[in-house]
């Protein structure tokens, strides 16, 4: 994955390309997506994440590339000198709109982030597009799996972005507890033989939760609060701290509501974690909660942020 922090990009060779009628340049080795972002052109993404190998399956980031028969995924296609790119042509708009409509028609997308919501609005997504006549519209309707005390899996919200599988595999955790099973519309994320996570190889690092863009994977605390209609982002604060459990020094962001820690994440751009944690950092804060009865956790080093899933 290209390291495109500012220091490194300045050392790289800049190559020229054109996008939406403008003459631009970006460091060689960039993907089209990075090149566009560096030049202030925003592109929607769903299956893409800086810290994971691009799989380019959602196709919401497609752009028109001169000389190419089909649209190309900007998140994995490498920039070449002289490329002519359109990011807002009728073809691109239609493809992005329909891809989002197809997703909403099959998957519960109610918990996607604000960015994605905004893109849906921008492209005029019609959520009822395929609800026509009596032939039932196929949706993913798997029941919520609550098979362990730490997090739930609600695959009716799964858009099959492959991120959790990558995070559990060679891209982060090397545990390989989950994989994609089945084929086509019937494909889904699963442990072997659909056994519970406890029976599987899962080590409950929660790294899959951290990368899930649709809220299909969720800490049980958050799931319960949401079910009780007591998940109140407006009353939440996020506290940055360093994980106390071992000497690695992972950054933690603790989401606090009503003086209790309700969720722990790590920033994706943190040089040690890249967003990953282990079971202790991710779920071990219950005991801090107990200690916190005496000393409120949000009294230290506080930054207020919006929660990723809202």
């Amino acid at each position: 994955m290209a390291d495109l922090s500012l220091e490194t990009t300045t050392k790289m060779e800049l190559i020229p390309f054109g996008a939406d009628g403008r003459e631009l340049s970006a460091p060689s080795g960039s993907t089209i997506l990075h090149a566009l972002r560096l030049n202030g052109i925003e592109t929607p993404t769903l299956c893409y994440l800086e810290t994971l190998t691009p799989v380019s399956v959602c196709r919401v980031c497609v752009v028109e590339l001169d000389g190419n028969r089909t649209l190309v995924p900007s998140c994995s296609r490498l920039l070449e000198a002289g490329m002519r790119i359109q990011t807002d042509s009728p073809r691109v708009r239609l493809a992005r709109k329909l891809v989002l409509e197809l997703l909403v028609s099959a998957v519960d997308m109610s918990l996607v982030n604000e960015d994605t919501r905004a893109w849906m609005h921008f492209y005029g997504v019609d959520e009822q597009r395929f609800e026509r006549g009596a032939v039932p519209v196929a949706r993913s309707t798997e029941p919520v799996i609550e098979d362990n005390p730490l997090f739930v899996r609600d695959y009716s919200k799964c858009m099959l972005c492959y991120k959790c599988v990558e995070a559990c595999g060679t891209d982060a955790q090397n545990t390989f507890a989950i994989s994609i099973k089945g084929r086509g519309f019937g494909a889904s994320v699963s442990t072997e033989f659909s056994v519970s996570l406890a029976e599987s190889a899962c080590v409950f690092c929660g790294n899959c939760i951290a990368v899930c863009p649709t809220g299909a994977l969720m800490p049980i605390t958050e799931y319960r609060l949401r079910n009780e209609a007591n998940w109140r982002p407006e009353d939440q604060t996020v506290t940055r701290t360093v994980c106390p459990f071992c000497g690695v020094g992972c950054n933690l962001e603790l989401t606090v509501q009503d003086n209790r820690i309700i969720k722990a994440t790590s920033p994706q751009d943190h040089s040690i974690t890249h967003g990953s944690l282990c079971i202790k950092g991710r779920f071990g804060w219950e005991f801090i909660n107990q200690r916190g009865e005496e000393q409120p956790v949000n009294s230290v080093d506080q930054t207020t942020m919006r929660d990723g899933h809202e």
Partner: protein
């Protein structure tokens, strides 16, 4: 990497079977006990877990063929022995239609209900007959059941089925019409389900000629199942000659011939080989695509069943040209007879020293391995095929990089169709100039067309490029008495429907471009007015929904929405025009934004059926 497995353990029989299979592959029993570090260091020949993974599919096949199903215990043991995560092996097993991931064995009769058989008129009587006789689909009865299947490549011998039973290592082709004179197809199917016995010898399909005079490929692939006979006929002389040329000389000759791929995409073969040869890599591979799952295509099966040696010779030549020391043939599981003949032929040719260990006749030690699919049309897509050989789910890769740069196990790889390779063999034998003597400027040479549906003599026909559709149909005897032509599907489910006004289309790349059609894999499927074309369109939509790998959104969900729209049209629920507009938009986005050719062509036949052949317009008895 510490892998963890569930408690599910194999039965002693399963364990023995898996261990036996792995021993046959030369994998030491101690493999499972190697430490992680040892495995990564490559201490033993298969100790690289990425390489070990290629035994996953063959391993699953060996389990399923003995026990009739793949149990969790068996998956665990196979995964453990190969150092693979169980979740991934399970994910792979469940990708392929033919693996029965279950606790109990079941025999299955896979009856084709795809469009070629519909065009032949055999589907409805057979399936209705089974339902009436009390055999509903997918309902085991005494351990046997029947299921509908996509095209089995037997369209010219319809109705036919593929029968898998526990203990039958590769499954068998069941000719349901064999004793048609004595009893109806339905009864043959039922007796098969009841007894599990098939006593039908393999039936060969010979290759007809349609203006290919003198015959070309047909001569090369003359029926021979005996290496000595093939050698007496001049077999392997071309290979000997080719090995006296440099790879570049061979590629120049192929380039000069103008040969293009016969697998569907029509890419220039010389250019592909040159790209592979030019890669700076000590290892390159050649892969022969014998997956042949495009509905209506059966020419590759016919080639292999008639003469497996010619393919082996052609591959050895292509391997030399590309600088590949190793070749793979990926054949679909539904072709057990072709696979058996290939396996036997490979052994004979190896014994003769023409392939295999390096020797006088085979200086570089070129060898060929056979890989068998497991029921997935998508595995014909070249990068899905490579993933499948590697033991993964058959999901296509994003391109670039193309296989010529990063293919099998990340090495430069030439992927070629069976018929393409046979053409290359002909060119090495007779030269590029002779090759160009027939055909058209842009499509030199001949082509094997698979003719099926409503014609008197369906089968494979060799014809020079440029023959018209009409001539081809006439050569196959025209339509049966009393039948009236409705339309023709060119290129298969990924192809285009044409109507009566297109019968003079020339079948060549020039003609295809002018007529806005595709030759694809050479499918010519003839429909008469008695076929319910709406049901055919719906079956095509169902095909793509069923065969989508599921990776990308436009195809995974788009093919489902496309099929739903066609179902609504069939039930005339919503205004036709609105549905057609929806289909158009779905079609254009699937075509534009899907990862691979499956999604990109999933709407092609349906769109042409609606707009070009006007198949939704009331006509005949279709309402």
């Amino acid at each position: 990497m510490d892998l963890k497995y569930t408690q599910a353990s194999p039965t002693p029989d399963e364990k023995n079977a898996i261990d036996g299979f792995l021993r046959e592959q030369g994998i030491p029993d101690s493999f499972a006990t190697l430490s992680d570090a040892e495995m990564r260091m490559g201490t033993s020949s298969v100790a690289d877990v990425r390489v070990a993974r290629q035994y996953v599919l063959p391993g699953l096949h060996s389990i399923q063929s003995q026990f009739g199903c793949v149990t969790p215990g068996a998956i665990n043991w196979l995964a453990m022995r190969l150092g693979q995560p169980a979740a991934e092996v399970y994910g792979t097993a469940t990708f392929y239609s033919l693996f029965e991931v279950a606790e109990d064995a079941v025999a299955t009769l896979h009856i084709c209900d795809d469009i070629g058989c519909r065009a032949a008129g055999t589907v409805d009587p057979l399936l209705n007959g089974l339902a009436v006789a009390g055999y509903p689909e997918d309902t085991p009865c005494n351990g046997a059941r029947w299921k509908r299947s996509p095209c089995l490549g037997l369209c010219a011998q319809s109705p036919a089925a593929y029968f898998t039973t526990p203990g039958n290592s590769a499954g068998t082709i069941a000719w349901l019409d064999l004793d048609n004179a004595v009893r109806p197809n339905t009864e043959t199917a039922i007796s098969l389900l009841q007894t599990g016995l098939i006593n039908a010898a393999p039936r060969l399909l010979s290759i007809g000629l349609a203006g290919a005079d003198p015959p070309r490929l047909s001569t090369l692939i003359k029926f021979t199942l005996n290496l000595n006979l093939y050698l007496e006929d001049g077999g392997f002389q071309a290979l000997k000659r080719a090995r006296t040329f440099t790879p570049i000389q061979l590629i120049d000759e192929i380039d000069k011939s103008g040969l293009t791929g016969r697998g569907g995409a029509g890419f220039p073969t010389g250019r592909k080989w040159r790209a592979v040869l030019a890669e700076k890599s000590p290892i390159r591979y050649l892969v022969c695509n014998a997956d042949e799952s495009e509905p209506g295509t059966f020419k590759d099966r016919t080639i292999i069943e008639n003469n497996p040696y010619s393919l082996i010779e052609a591959m050895a030549i292509a391997g030399h040209a590309c600088g590949a020391k190793k070749g793979w043939i990926y054949i679909r599981a539904e072709y057990p007879e072709a696979a058996a003949r290939l396996r036997k032929a490979l052994a004979e040719v190896r014994t003769a020293g023409l392939i295999g260990a390096a020797g006088a006749e085979n200086e570089i030690g070129f060898d060929i391995e056979l890989s068998v699919g497991a029921g997935a049309y998508i595995c014909g897509e070249e990068t899905a095929l490579l993933n499948s050989i590697e033991g993964k789910r058959g999901e296509p890769r994003n391109k670039p990089p193309f296989p010529s740069v990063s293919g099998l196990f990340g090495k430069p790889t030439a992927v070629n169709n069976v018929e393409t390779l046979i053409n290359a063999l002909w060119i090495v034998k007779h030269g590029a100039d002779a090759y160009r003597e027939v055909g058209t400027a842009q499509s030199p040479g001949t082509r094997l067309f698979s003719l099926s549906g409503s014609v008197v003599a369906p089968g494979v026909y060799e014809a020079p490029h440029g023959i018209t559709l009409r001539q081809l149909i006439v050569t196959a005897g025209g339509l049966p008495q009393g039948k009236q032509l409705r339309c023709v599907l060119l290129g298969g489910a990924a192809g285009v429907f044409v109507g009566l006004e297109d019968l003079d289309t020339e079948l060549s790349s020039e003609g295809a471009r002018a007529g806005n059609v595709t030759l694809g894999s050479g499918v010519v499927m003839v429909f008469d007015t008695s076929t319910d074309m709406r049901a055919v369109l719906k079956r095509i939509a169902e095909f793509f929904r069923h065969e989508s790998c599921g990776q990308c959104v436009p195809c995974r969900i788009g093919t489902v929405r496309q099929e739903e729209a066609l179902k609504r049209i069939l039930h005339t629920e919503t205004p036709l025009q609105e549905e057609i507009e929806l289909l158009n938009q779905l079609g254009s986005v699937m075509c534009d934004a899907s990862i691979c050719g499956l999604g990109q062509t999933a709407s092609s036949a349906i769109q042409s059926g609606i707009h070009r052949a006007k198949l939704l317009k009331s006509e005949g008895n279709n309402g």
